[in-house]
């Protein structure tokens, strides 16, 4: 049965709660420890981006079933300023916020599927999927 949960990301404590909820979903899906760690770390990076660059937003956690495969989809959405140059934002080392610039590119590497849509002035939506 599909499980869906939407969470607010408005503070750095919410980022911790998102990590814990993603961990719980991954455990319920039977992910191994390394897969759990990868999806939780990716979620932490993206939740922080949503907070720091998007001015806060939401994440939706969804379990997926595709034939015999089970997976976890995370959708991060904000109504922030948007990303003018997505290619550039995905590059390692690129940062507009004083970080290391590992967040977006790193999260992409830790997921099996990665989609990003962003409109300047309207917001950003990032979807990642990790299959078991």
């Amino acid at each position: 049965m599909q499980k869906i949960e939407e969470m607010e990301i408005q503070s750095s404590s919410d980022v911790v709660l998102v990590r814990q909820a993603v961990r719980q979903f991954a455990i319920e899906l039977g992910f191994g420890l390394v897969d759990q760690t990868k999806i939780v770390t990716a979620a932490s990076e993206l939740a922080r981006n949503t907070l720091d660059y998007g001015g806060g937003g939401t994440v939706t956690l969804e379990t997926l079933q595709n034939g015999g495969r089970r997976g976890l989809r995370l959708t991060f959405e904000d109504q922030g300023p948007g990303i003018p140059d997505i290619e550039l934002a995905l590059k390692d080392g690129f940062t507009s916020g004083g970080g290391l610039g590992m967040g977006l590119g790193g999260a992409k590497r830790l997921a099996n599927e990665f989609e990003i849509e962003s409109v300047v002035g309207e917001g950003t939506r990032i979807i990642i999927v990790r299959w078991k």
Binding site: V16, K38, M102
Partner: protein, 138 residues
């Protein structure tokens, strides 16, 4: 205010991170450690992260900052106890923690600190204490 405790052991400071840190807590730890190094003239810092389930780019950056700041203040930092799944994920994330000295566990980290900076009676005493609990893997 929530804080990570910093213990003093001879000329070393010992930090065991046992909670899922939010970003502000990690920054508070960085500031607290800097102040404690200055107050105690510690010449070594050991950070045990064996209870951390993830190290993302932010926590990695804070660990790197602590290592750099302590170096400027004449103290060595060693990070110990990283879980294997965390190490695998960190490398894939693109962070290699360059410039941070690491050891597999607290015993080995203490030995590394002592070999690097420790020579006083306090440090010798600490070494004896840890040897008593030494595991059989060596």
């Amino acid at each position: 205010m929530e804080r990570i405790p910093i213990l003093q052991m001879g000329e070393f400071l010992l930090v065991t991170i046992q909670v899922d840190m939010h970003d502000r807590l990690a920054m508070t730890l960085q500031d607290d450690l800097t102040n404690r190094i200055s107050q105690t003239s510690a010449n070594g810092v050991l950070i045990d992260i064996s209870a951390l389930d993830i190290v993302d780019s932010f926590i990695g950056r804070i660990l790197g900052n602590i290592a750099k700041i302590s170096q400027v203040m004449d103290a060595e930092t060693v990070v110990v106890g990283m879980q294997p799944a965390v190490a695998i994920t960190l490398v894939e994330l693109g962070m290699s923690l360059t410039g941070i000295r690491t050891a597999l566990n607290v015993e080995k980290g203490m030995a590394l600190l002592q070999a690097t900076v420790g020579s006083s009676a306090n440090a010798q005493f600490t070494a004896t204490e840890w040897d008593l609990e030494d595991d059989a893997e060596d």
